[in-house]
């Protein structure tokens, strides 16, 4: 049933008792147009559990190379290992480009046209670098900085010489993926989800093989094999639970090893999923 606005419910006795004193009518607590109510429900524990996160930390510490991971759990709390360590984004920055491009379309009151999808689809689906460069040329580096700011990143720095060298951290990317629903204009959100959940199988290593089919996985991988750098950021959803994972590695002995590192973190985090 609809409940009366508690501000009024609380105010009514005061109104009746003190209506001769104007100053007594003012409610001092309201700071903006905000309304309060009470609810009762059945909370679920945050996911992943603290035990799963500890297990993922332990696993990652056992791996070679330079590594970090961050989780923004289903209640929005950040945890992980070396969460603010700086890494090069490689291709995971393409999701920031996607968001910037969709925001640009929205600001110009434009829909998605063939010219737009001919860039965005290959940029995400097969991680096409030429498409990414074209998208960045259109939106501009300032748009990426705005996306970074809007998603609350604290470790972002533009790439020098090439967009793949953009600086980021696991914490930043976990926050960014958690904020996708807020950052992407509503009319394009479905398209973005479709892109991020339908990435070419050869690039769907790490998190998706572990999480699917129990979870819907929206993700992007990135790699600079010459530097032993393998990254992945994912947003995992099922009814009532959403959380994000970002795993960053460099100086990995091989691509297979890097993929196994990321997959191992995901396995630990999802081990106790109900």
């Amino acid at each position: 049933m609809w409940a009366e606005h508690p501000r009024w419910t609380a105010r009514l006795p005061a109104l009746l008792a003190a209506c001769a004193v104007l100053a007594a009518l003012r409610v001092p607590t309201a700071r903006a147009l905000e309304y309060q109510g009470e609810g009762q429900g059945i909370p679920v524990a945050a996911f992943p559990s603290a035990g799963a996160i500890a297990s993922a930390k332990s696993f990652l510490n056992s791996r070679a190379g330079h590594t970090s991971f961050a989780v923004l759990d289903s209640q929005g709390h950040l945890s992980g290992l070396r969460v603010h360590e700086h890494f090069q984004t490689a291709s995971v920055v393409k999701v920031m480009m996607l968001v910037a491009y969709l925001q640009m379309l929205d600001a110009r009151h434009r829909g998605l046209g063939a010219a737009d999808t001919s860039l965005l689809y290959p940029m995400i689906h097969v991680s096409d670098n030429n498409a990414a460069s074209a998208v960045l040329a259109i939106v501009g580096s300032g748009a990426l900085e705005r996306v970074a700011r809007e998603s609350g990143m604290t470790d972002y720095a533009p790439g020098v010489g090439w967009w793949a060298y953009t600086q980021t951290s696991a914490a930043d990317q976990a926050r960014f993926f958690f904020a996708l629903e807020r950052l992407i204009p509503p009319r394009f959100y479905g398209y973005a989800r479709w892109l991020l959940s339908g990435i070419e199988p050869s690039q769907s290593w790490g998190i998706p093989p572990v999480a699917r089919p129990r979870w819907q996985v929206f993700f992007k991988t990135g790699a600079l094999p010459s530097e032993g750098l393998f990254n992945e950021v994912g947003r995992l959803e099922r009814p009532g639970v959403t959380f994000t994972i970002a795993v960053f590695t460099s100086s990995e002995p091989s691509m297979a090893y890097g993929e196994q590192t990321i997959q191992g973190v995901a396995t630990a985090l999802l081990a106790h999923a109900r």
């Binding site: 309201a30 903006a32 109510g37 009470e38 059945i42």
Partner: protein, 232 residues
């Protein structure tokens, strides 16, 4: 007693009416007051007062009630009436849809006008919380408000706090939608922080400056915030 009943209580606010001086002033004096200076959208208002001359009530004098509504471009007549034999008058069932300044003017009595009475009109708000199962509770809010301004969606930010705590966590950001002119709705589904909890929804609609006290015309918090006392 509902708000309607409270709003109709004929209690005058001291200091708002033009007070009669110890020595009777020269010429007619029109005093007016309102039952409350802040009411909810849809609630009728009563404006009461008296017209006197030399301390004696002036009966059967024609009056007009004038209103200057936000954005306050000038007074317009919204009702006509006349004084009782005692000189008193009562404009009841006055419906205001946004912040408004009121005054009463005595027709044919040169320059006899009451003081200006500021009235703040708050939107009518209904909250709703319904559990959908473990980890899922739908929160919604419906506001009835002035149709001033456009109906563009705005962000509604939802904050939740476990009872007995002081920190409201940002749980969701959603868009409002206008169900019909002057009726805005927003909802979200959140994971409750505890079995019993308190939630707040905050928004900055295009019409906010037309309604409510100036103190609430500020941007909504965009992240978690702490309140001075435990909630609930």
């Amino acid at each position: 007693m509902g708000r309607l009943g409270a709003g109709l209580l004929a209690l005058t606010l001291t200091g708002l009416a033009v007070a009669s001086a110890p020595a009777s002033p020269v010429g007619p004096v029109l005093s007016a007051s309102v039952v409350t200076h802040e009411l909810t959208y849809g609630t009728p208002l009563a404006v009461i007062g008296s017209l006197t001359n030399g301390g004696v009530g002036m009966g059967d004098a024609p009056l007009t009630l004038q209103a200057d509504a936000y954005p306050f471009h000038g007074f317009l007549t919204i009702a006509h009436g006349s004084t009782e034999p005692s000189g008193s008058f009562d404009f009841s069932e006055v419906r205001l849809n946004r912040n408004t300044r009121l005054r009463v003017v005595a027709e044919g009595t040169e320059d006899t006008t009451s003081s200006v009475l500021g009235v703040i009109v708050d939107p009518s708000v209904q909250n709703y919380a319904r559990s959908l199962g473990p980890g899922r509770i739908r929160l919604s809010v419906r506001l009835r408000h002035t149709a001033v301004g456009d109906s563009a969606p705005v962000v509604a930010r939802w904050f939740v706090a476990a009872r007995g705590t002081r920190i409201f966590h940002l749980a969701a950001e959603t868009q409002t939608r206008e169900l019909s002119p002057g009726m805005t709705y927003a909802s979200t589904i959140v994971d409750p922080p505890s079995r019993r909890f308190v939630y707040r929804v905050c928004l900055n609609p295009t019409w906010e400056h037309a309604m409510g006290p100036p103190a609430v015309h500020r941007p909504c918090p965009k992240q978690d915030f702490k309140v001075p006392h435990d909630v609930g």
